[in-house]
Symmetry: C2
Subunit: 224 residues, 2 copies
């Protein structure tokens, strides 16, 4: 645990899991889910209208960095921070019950509330870009061309403090009604995971460049 | 194509893809993405605050059915429909460019705007539950115990018309700056897909019940 991380998150009115609270978790599992996920869904409001846009992210301690472009609709009118809800969902399995009603999914999700601020400082923007890249595929940053000053200027980065967050987790067998356990119906779980297939080289890859080990052995998506 | 489906969606102010419009698609790919996805992210607004909640869904023609429980915060105060933004995202690969700046992901996503209505009619609710179940694992509905009247009453279902929707799709190689193609850096794509592992029988499964073929051969997540 980094000194910038919470040991336990304080549940607030809006971050408290209301539905099936027994599945809620306000501890370290929040960081684990954020670190395993690759895409978040950013929710924000423009003129009362909700928008939900998928985007990449990175985490540094108790800060979540998100690409700013999804929020550009808002940024035209706002400069003092953007109220967002950011959700990361990992789908772990299909839960097949004996009744239609009790079918479910195994999942781990995190919901974060807060005010996202535009990152202006070039060093912080660089920290964010590093976090994006290393989050997706550790080892990559050291090998690629670093961002130019112009690229940094052209990148919109938002920073969201990880203060108000909750996780919700479902695992294990279906929960059937007692009477249904006698039905002659197969029940159980079909596990799902996001897996990497063999890397595909760029059609313009120069000859003689071999596949790096961190790409060849890319397994974090399913193994972490 | 069902007679209830659009051949082409009309792009509105809010459903028009503003960022990287060359990746936008307003045609049949919208249905294909919705049919392949398993989880949607529902965005709604309560007292100006955005909420983004993951949930299961099903599609019947030009209607998306979503589980109502995520919206229960809203339903306490609203009865004339709920303004939502529903997003489905399929992650297809990591795009490794020669510069940090041009790293990206291959994905297919759909964003739907509209007013979700509570489904009161028991027959329509049954249609929605069937759509949920068959969407997740085709063949399942015929085998399991059907919902009781009490279960139907206890299920909150929302119906969202598929009228305002857009897809956004990125495929293929990284797009590097021309000068960067000479760098001695491996570039390409790591394909990702959600895959099913071997089914795990419920710990209370009765002896003598064999695994159905539609579970054994479950491949739709990666193959459709």
């Amino acid at each position: 645990m980094s000194s910038l991380e919470h040991e336990q998150f304080t549940a607030t009115q809006r971050s408290t899991v209301k539905r099936l609270p027994q599945r809620a978790d306000y501890g370290q599992v929040i960081y684990q889910i954020l670190d395993e996920g690759l895409v978040c869904h950013v929710g924000f409001v423009v003129d009362g209208q909700p928008f939900v846009i998928p985007t990449a992210y990175g985490r540094v301690g108790d800060k979540l960095y998100i690409h700013g472009s999804p929020a550009s609709r808002m940024l035209r009118s706002l400069s003092n921070g953007i109220e967002v809800c950011v959700t990361v969902t990992l789908l772990d399995g299909l839960v097949l019950a004996r009744s239609a009603f009790h079918h479910s999914m195994n999942y781990r999700s995190v919901v974060i509330f807060g005010t996202a601020m535009i990152v202006e400082n070039p060093e912080k923007k660089l920290e964010a870009l590093l976090a994006f890249t290393e989050h997706v595929i550790p080892g990559r940053w050291a090998e690629v061309r670093s961002p130019s000053r112009q690229e940094l200027q052209g990148t919109l980065v938002l920073s969201l403090p990880l203060n108000e967050a909750s996780a919700k987790v479902r695992t294990g067998d279906p929960n059937d009604d007692e009477a249904d356990y006698d039905l002659p119906v197969w029940a159980g779980v079909v596990p799902l995971k996001l897996t990497a297939a063999a890397p595909i080289a760029d059609s313009r890859l120069q000859p003689g460049i071999s596949l790096p080990a961190y790409v060849q052995n890319y397994t974090r998506v399913c193994e972490r």
